[in-house]
């Protein structure tokens, strides 16, 4: 899948590693981009990935609407016994997860290799 070019989705690319989808995200996730971000993430579930790995190393800013999109994805993928793993969080993005106490809810890994293992 490629990101919806007509939208302002921050998803740059979706790569597949077996049954895991690796989602490369870039730029800023805020009220301006989070709807498209969430829509693209949820559409990915139609391809029945066993795991979704979200690469946030290219994300310079995320607010609570971006976090909410990931919470929704986590909730949906758990229903299918799939898993969601995040990696590449910058200090600022990690800070948002810590402030909202969601750093303990998500699987957060250092890099792609760890996220896929």
């Amino acid at each position: 899948m490629t990101a919806n070019q007509a939208s302002n989705s921050p998803i740059q690319e979706v790569r597949w590693a077996g049954k895991a989808a690796v989602v490369d995200v870039v730029g800023e996730i805020d009220l301006n981009t989070s709807n498209a971000f969430q829509q693209d993430l949820l559409e990915l579930l139609d391809k029945s990935p066993e795991r979704i790995v979200v690469n946030l190393s290219g994300v310079s800013y995320m607010d609570s609407s971006g976090v909410a999109s990931l919470v929704k994805l986590l909730s949906r993928i758990r229903r299918t016994n799939g898993s969601l793993v995040l990696y590449g969080l910058t200090d600022r993005v990690r800070g948002v997860f810590e402030i909202t106490r969601l750093d303990s809810v998500f699987e957060i890994r250092a890099d792609e290799q760890e996220a896929l293992s």
Binding site: D30, N32, D63, S64, A68, V71, D91, V96, I99
Partner: protein
């Protein structure tokens, strides 16, 4: 001091989500000028962004043609506190109705007020003269600051 409470930085935006990055950039710069370190500056930027997001989503219900005013000032001589005032012209909401939700309840949404109260020293909602809401956020400046005069 390059800006203070008598001569605040004033920014007026429309309630367009696409305007939010502009405010974030300005707030970040204002924080750096008065000596906030990167982590604290980031938390102040996040708080202002969450406040603006709440106004667009709730006070203006997604309308993109309403005004939001942001003022940044420094209180005290010598400078002590950053004060951010955010004014909207929507319906005033009783602060007792603006609550952050229980964080143990993991679901999307409802995190904005929690983020503001966690990151800022003081968060005060009050009715604005002429209608709407005035939100005041304050944050004490770092003890040893290097300010640009």
């Amino acid at each position: 001091m390059s800006y203070n409470d008598a001569r605040p930085v004033k920014i007026t935006i429309m309630s367009l989500p696409a305007h939010l990055p502009v405010v974030r950039a300005a707030v970040e710069k204002a924080c750096k000028i008065v000596g906030f370190q990167d982590e604290t500056a980031g938390s102040i930027v996040l708080s202002v962004d969450e406040a603006l997001t709440n106004i667009i989503k709730h006070a203006y219900k997604g309308a993109d043609d309403r005004e939001i005013e942001v003022e940044l000032g420094i209180l005290g001589d010598p400078p002590e506190v950053l004060k951010v005032r955010i004014r909207d012209y929507g319906v005033y909401v009783d602060p007792s109705q603006i609550k952050s939700r229980d964080l143990k309840d993991v679901r999307p949404g409802g995190l904005g007020v929690h983020i503001m109260t966690e990151c800022m020293d003081r968060v005060q909602f009050s009715p604005a003269e002429g209608g709407g809401t005035l939100l005041t956020l304050t944050k004490r400046l770092p003890a040893k600051q290097e300010t640009v005069q």
